[in-house]
């Protein structure tokens, strides 16, 4: 195991000597993943890149799992729990398709350049765009099964090589018989069903575990993750979201949301307008002027807020691969698979917790609601202080008068430190929806940081939240 990975694991998994078994399981798992052979072919190289990503994400996940395994349970239950935990970790290690989900955690970490060693960043950055490809013969057969004909019979032209990777498949360019250029996202066969079955198995393994109340909350978060993964395998849901988001930006020339074509789409094949443009890295190499960087940072911030406050959709995957930059100031949006539609209860919670702070009592109630604890249950002052610190950090840009400097690494770094500090202290109890809100928030801040953007976040927040019918 590399010294850097070892350091990372040691730093994260500090705990009492009595909790040796889960720590051993974590080390064992990381060691197994680290011992993959040196890649010699393209297929092996892809797997190892994904494994590096998986190692890091599994480290965090296993730490969260382990931290829920705590304190005051009897010896018999402890032994039982160890068995379940080991089984859960083992199952995670076999869920290689989850590299897509773990990629998303890694993508989040990638955008915080000061957090991880540079070599991890370079490896993780590649994961935005790479995945083992389907060759055309497999794809042709699959599309034939899904759409009733070979793709070369359906479309005027169809490129046999994918031009982009998706987390569960890949994307091809084609031209309709009408002349329109389209992008066709095609899922790898059987992934959806495998994810559903593995999710069920995972919850079956975790369900009997008896821990503190915090563990019940963690299990709900894992359940939430599994459910989201399953949702991502349904392109019909993504298509519906694409249409809803498109309506949010109708008439706004700056934002391009691709149209989707239902006659050429199914649950596992999604056909939509092909958008050109440059991804963030490519855009930044053109050395764009500061004004354009500020403009895009502001636009990305506004898009996220409009989707949330008007559309009640959390764009939980705001990584560089999902935006296409044009030098004329237009921004294309891609990939609405990893979004979270807020339920009525979650929206109500969001308004309560993230709205204007009221009395101290109201504030404490809102905090407890965000941690999913009853009003009567005591919460340590340190924990409350930590959450309040985070809320202060979160509100800072929208309370700042004038242009807030998102390019200031101290701001982003402070936010990330608060989150990792919270994880280290075991403050992992949270409503599952907070994970998605956090990903959206950090993703947007990280993009704005990369752009070195400065803009009036307060004005955008006030405009977009006041336009919301129910906020």
């Amino acid at each position: 195991m590399s010294p850097d990975l070892q350091h990372l694991i040691s730093g994260l998994t500090q705990g009492s000597p009595a909790e040796a078994s889960p720590r051993d399981a974590l080390h064992q798992l990381a060691s197994v993943l680290a011992q993959r052979p040196i890649p010699v072919g393209r297929m092996m190289r892809s797997r190892t890149i994904c494994s590096a990503q998986s190692r890091i994400a599994l480290t965090y996940l296993a730490y969260w799992l382990r931290h829920g395994y705590a304190g005051d349970v009897g010896e018999k239950e402890r032994c039982l729990n160890e068995t379940h935990l080991s089984a859960a970790l083992e199952l995670f290690s076999t869920m290689s398709y989850l590299r897509g989900a773990f990629m998303k955690v890694g993508q989040l970490l990638t955008n915080y350049p000061n957090v991880l060693p540079v070599q991890f960043i370079d490896t993780l950055k590649a994961l935005h765009f790479e995945a083992p490809p389907m060759h055309f013969s497999l794809l042709r057969e699959f599309v034939h099964d899904e759409l009733g004909k070979d793709p070369t019979d359906i479309f005027e032209t169809f490129e046999t090589k994918a031009f982009a990777a998706a987390s569960l498949g890949q994307v091809h360019r084609a031209r309709l018989k009408s002349g329109q250029m389209v992008a066709i996202k095609i899922q790898y066969p059987n992934v959806g069903r495998t994810i559903r079955e593995d999710s069920k198995n995972l919850m079956t393994i975790l369900s009997p575990m008896r821990f503190t109340d915090d563990w019940e909350n963690l299990k709900r978060q894992v359940e939430d993750l599994c459910q989201t993964l399953e949702t991502e395998t349904d392109y019909c849901e993504e298509a519906a979201r694409l249409q809803r988001v498109g309506r949010l930006f109708e008439g706004d020339d700056r934002v391009i949301v691709p149209r989707f074509y239902p006659e050429f789409s199914t649950r596992r094949v999604l056909t939509m307008d092909y958008l050109d443009g440059a991804h963030l890295d490519e855009f930044l190499t053109t050395d764009p002027p500061a004004a354009l960087r500020h403009f895009y940072g502001e636009l990305i911030y506004r898009i996220s807020h409009r989707m949330l406050y008007t559309g009640r959709v959390v764009y939980a995957d705001p990584h560089p691969g999902n935006y296409l930059f044009h030098n004329d100031g237009r921004l294309g949006l891609l990939d609405f698979g990893c979004c979270r539609d807020l339920t009525t209860e979650e929206w109500d919670y969001f308004c309560q917790v993230h709205g204007a702070p009221g009395s101290q009592e109201h504030h404490l109630k809102a905090l407890k609601r965000s941690m999913e604890v009853s009003d009567s249950r005591p919460v340590s002052p340190q924990h409350i202080f930590h959450v309040e610190e985070f809320c202060r950090w979160f509100r800072e840009p929208r309370q700042f008068n004038g242009d807030f400097d998102f390019g200031d690494e101290k701001y982003l770094g402070h936010g990330f430190n608060l989150v990792t500090d919270g994880v280290r202290r075991g403050y992992v109890r949270s409503k599952p929806v907070n994970t998605w809100l956090l990903r959206d928030l950090f993703g947007i801040c990280a993009l704005a940081f990369r752009l070195g953007a400065r803009f009036n976040a307060k004005a955008i927040f006030e405009e977009e939240s006041s336009a919301s019918p129910a906020y």
Binding site: V40, G41, M43, M44, M134, H135, F136, S137, L138, E141, F142, D145, T160, Y188, P189, N190, R193
Partner: protein
Amino acid sequence: MRITAQAKVEARERIVVSALRLFASNGFSRTTTREIAEAAGVASGTIFNYFPTKESLAMAVIGGALEDGERNFLRRRRGDEELAEDLFAHVLEGLRKLKPHRRYAGEVLEKAMSPFTSPELTDDGGRVRSAHLKTVSQVLAWHGISPTVVVFVSHLYWTLYLGVLAFWVNDSSKKQEDTLVVLDQSMRLFAAALAEDE
């Protein structure tokens, strides 16, 4: 009365078509040669003038489907495929043609193509095997695999292919999608192993 060559060809054709229909609807074991003869409009014993056994008749049908698959594969090749894709496409074209016979193919293939089958039943299976491996050797040669390696890996490949066939026969997933995955992964691993060896 002497039967013309043309009449023989037509009779054989009727027997094959009738067998195909009855195997598909009733299964291989439940279909008798008497029923096939009756459906084809020939005397019971006439079938054995053309096919020594019921299995041989079934293999003629299946063998014909696989030959169609071979021809389709060669016709549809683009020329820019990598080895794993070529191997995948070759098997897949055979499975596509074999699909109408999936219900009874397992029973027949087990008798005719199993390595443990007795010699008098392997002629038909032997022909199918030879034709398939001939195409595989051609594919390997296109991708620069040396002839000596081809001779060795053909045995290995045949075992892999039979495994995929067996999986497909028993695949209850919708449109046998699981077989696509198994076939894809199998051929990738096989091709990768060859690439490392070269």
